[in-house]
Amino acid sequence: MFIQFQEKTSKTLGQHFLQSVWQCAAMFALAVFLGFSINQFRVSRLPLIEDWSMEALLKSPSGDRLDMSLVEAKNLFFQKAAIMIDARPNDDYEKGHIRGARSLPWHEVDQRFMEVTKDISVNTPIITYCDGKTCRLSHDLANFLLDMGFTNVRILVNGWTKWQHADLPVDK
């Protein structure tokens, strides 16, 4: 009994590291196997490779382009024909936003959606924007609004920066 215990505890640190290497590899293999096999049986299977480019992101689920130019946005703004929605966090909105834009931070969309959109009819043109060329908040918000039944939602990519650079009306 004592000898057995001695044998058990006499493993060197090196052996333990060796043990950990094959265990790590086995866990990785098991995770890959579980992940990929369960993904195959999902109704909404995630493709292994997906196009994450900006061009692909700017398409609605039905394939329509969602982005719009600054000129188009500006025209709609001056005609008061569209509602601008700022998808950035509230702090950023408070620091400055497109004049008359409403704040609907993407991170609070579940809590604030009803309050912000209750007086907007489903076919009113809506323009979402955030800041930065790779900012996805406005894309996520636009797709969310489309899912919620709004039919005329567009995105002004990098909207806040573009709007300021063009010296268009802002509220600060």
Binding site: K8, Q19, S20, M27, A31, I38, D51, R136
Partner: protein
Amino acid sequence: MPKKRNHLSRVFYHGVRLILGVIFIYASYDKILHPKAFAEVVYNYQILPDGLINVTAIFLPWLEMLMGIFLIMGFWMPGTVIWCNTLLVVYIGALCFNLARGLDVNCGCFSTTKGSTISIETILWDVAFLALSVYLFFFVFFKRTSGNRRFI
């Protein structure tokens, strides 16, 4: 006295193992249920190339789930603690990197839903988990080799 200390240290080891196990299972559960949302979280970090985003979103939550289960069961502890430490270091690195470059993205730490943006607080939580994980590492690799294997 040393016997009592040994006992306390074993109790602490099992406590830490169970706590980290529950944390990893909790962290993986929502990501497994919503792989698309988790893929978006991975994309938003803007660290991995496009070709690896979905692959990562598919297997990573399962690795976390296995780690959680193995920690609770006390199974394959050397491999499990190596993964715990590695993943936590990678997560902390990714959080710091994005916080430093000012990216306002969803942390995706415990949930794929919106509302948990990265902050110093999220990094500190991960550092606390890493401290527990490092403790497990030393217990498993050093304490165990010095004669406590029976108790693990």
